[in-house]
Amino acid sequence: MMDSLYIAWKYLTYNKVKTATLVACIVLIAFLPMALELLLDESERQLLSRAVSTPLVVGAKGSALDLVMNTIYFGDEVPEIITMAAAEKIYESDLALPVPLYVRFQARKHPIVGTTLDYFDFRGLTLATGESITMLGDCVLGATAADRLDLNVGESIVSSPENLFDLAGVYPLKMKVVGILDKTHTSDDLAIFVDLKTTYVIQGLVHGHTDLWKVRDPTLILNKDDKNITGSAKVYEYTEITEDNIEEFHYHGDPTAAPITAVIALPFDEKSGTILRGRYLTDEENHQIVKPAEVINTLLASIFRIKNVLDAVIVIVGLGTVIAIILVFALSLRLRQREIVTIFKIGCRQMTIARLIAAEILIIVGFSAIICLVLLAFVNHYDDSLVRTLFIR
């Protein structure tokens, strides 16, 4: 058999293009459905496990999917903004514990999640190193985020501006890393957690600058009377919160009107949850309450419907490929008739030809299998990121 493999190998390496084409066909047809299956399994696992563990989400009326994806997977699509009044309303209902979330900003392509410490308790997030958020401007990194951003406790990360061309917009905020979370294999691993107020600093709602009452430079003051003072654009706003300047930070406006993207409602019991859901059913209500598991199941049903179509397409394409491969081998045998006749004339047995063809098929299939396994290992290794890119974003 070694001699047959040797001759087959020589034939295949001599006919590189034909061999590469056959290998590519087999790899594609084997890899696609397996990779798809792998990714769908992973997406199902990721999507469902987190959705099931999140009882209720309250957000602006609109796309329930965008709301859930943003709230539990910190997806890029930001739902319509609501206010802290929504969280207050849940708190006052005494039916559930509200955990407000503001997931709008990013730092080096990682979502900045503004929330309260209740979120950490709810998700069971524990610190691997450092400490929890205690001060405005502090941040705690998910394990993967810390790894990818190559950040440790004591170092800093700057928030990314939403729009480069918005000259009047917010300045990037330098946040201090005070802790790194243990790995959870969920979206939390990729997030940068800050206090809600820190996200308002990023947005410019909370800002810090020199006390205008104390400045002497007249060009810094636009307007001044006994009660009010208006600074000019020349007033320098702090882009980093330190112990020295933290006292200068202040919020303009009504705290209940502070923006958030959603509230995770943690009902005290099943009955409370049902009552709470009922309260959002009226037409006058401008918020919606959703059960993430239901939303994700709808999404998964759509994904699996698409998968069924894809499976059918892959089966048809696969059959076509197999027929094409058989045809290639059949034509190849015709083209190699002279060679076969020569081998027969030299005196080889009929089985030898079969053995040579089998060896060629074995090598092609073997190579395809190796490439397929390498690709699958790659997909398996990066399935977390791939699922996020393909299904969550």
Binding site: D3, S4, Y6, I7, K10, Y11, T13, Y14, N15, R338, E339, T342, I343, F344, K345, I346, G347, C348, R349, T352, L356
Partner: protein, 227 residues
Amino acid sequence: MIEINSLEFEYRAGEFHLTMPEFAVEKGEKVAVIGPSGSGKTTLLNLVAGILTPRKGSVAVGNTVVSGLSDQARRDFRITNVGFVFQDFALLDYLNVMDNILHPYRITGALKLTGEIRERAAMLAREMGIGDKLRRQSTDLSHGEKQRAAICRALLPHPRVILADEATGNLDPGNKIRILELLFESVEKHDATLLAVTHDHELLPHFDRVADFQAFQGQAAQGGQAP
């Protein structure tokens, strides 16, 4: 050594038929086979090699009646006892020269490929003047070099019978004699028998005997020719 008796052979229901009442080649004898194109010279070689089987009569090599063997037995007999130099060289494009020479050893269990065989193949190639081209693809060789590689392949297993179909057809005059001498040397060294088809009448004096096919009844019925 080669003995043909009352042989009758035909291609495709009478399109061509060959009859040979009696033909014999002694052991160690070097016989040239001449005759017009389509007279059945190559057919004769194929019959002796057991590639074709006669309709009637017998073909024997030594004590083996080749025509009486089963298809499988004829293949085994051929690969171990017959060295065939084909008219079209029959080298495989995807193998280098060395692999082409060693090819019979790789396609049968009847011949064992050893280090000694490899050395012998290299030596034979050197003697044929292609020793420096062993790693070259056969497609990179000239016609003459291909022919010499094909001869190396035929001679390597020290066959009892060497059948050469226009073995020197693609060679220049100097090389023709040199290759012929090598074939003769192999025949003498291994006490083999050479049956060589040739159109080159200048070479005939070098052979022990010339078998003229016009003496046989190689006929093309209805204007057909032997393939």
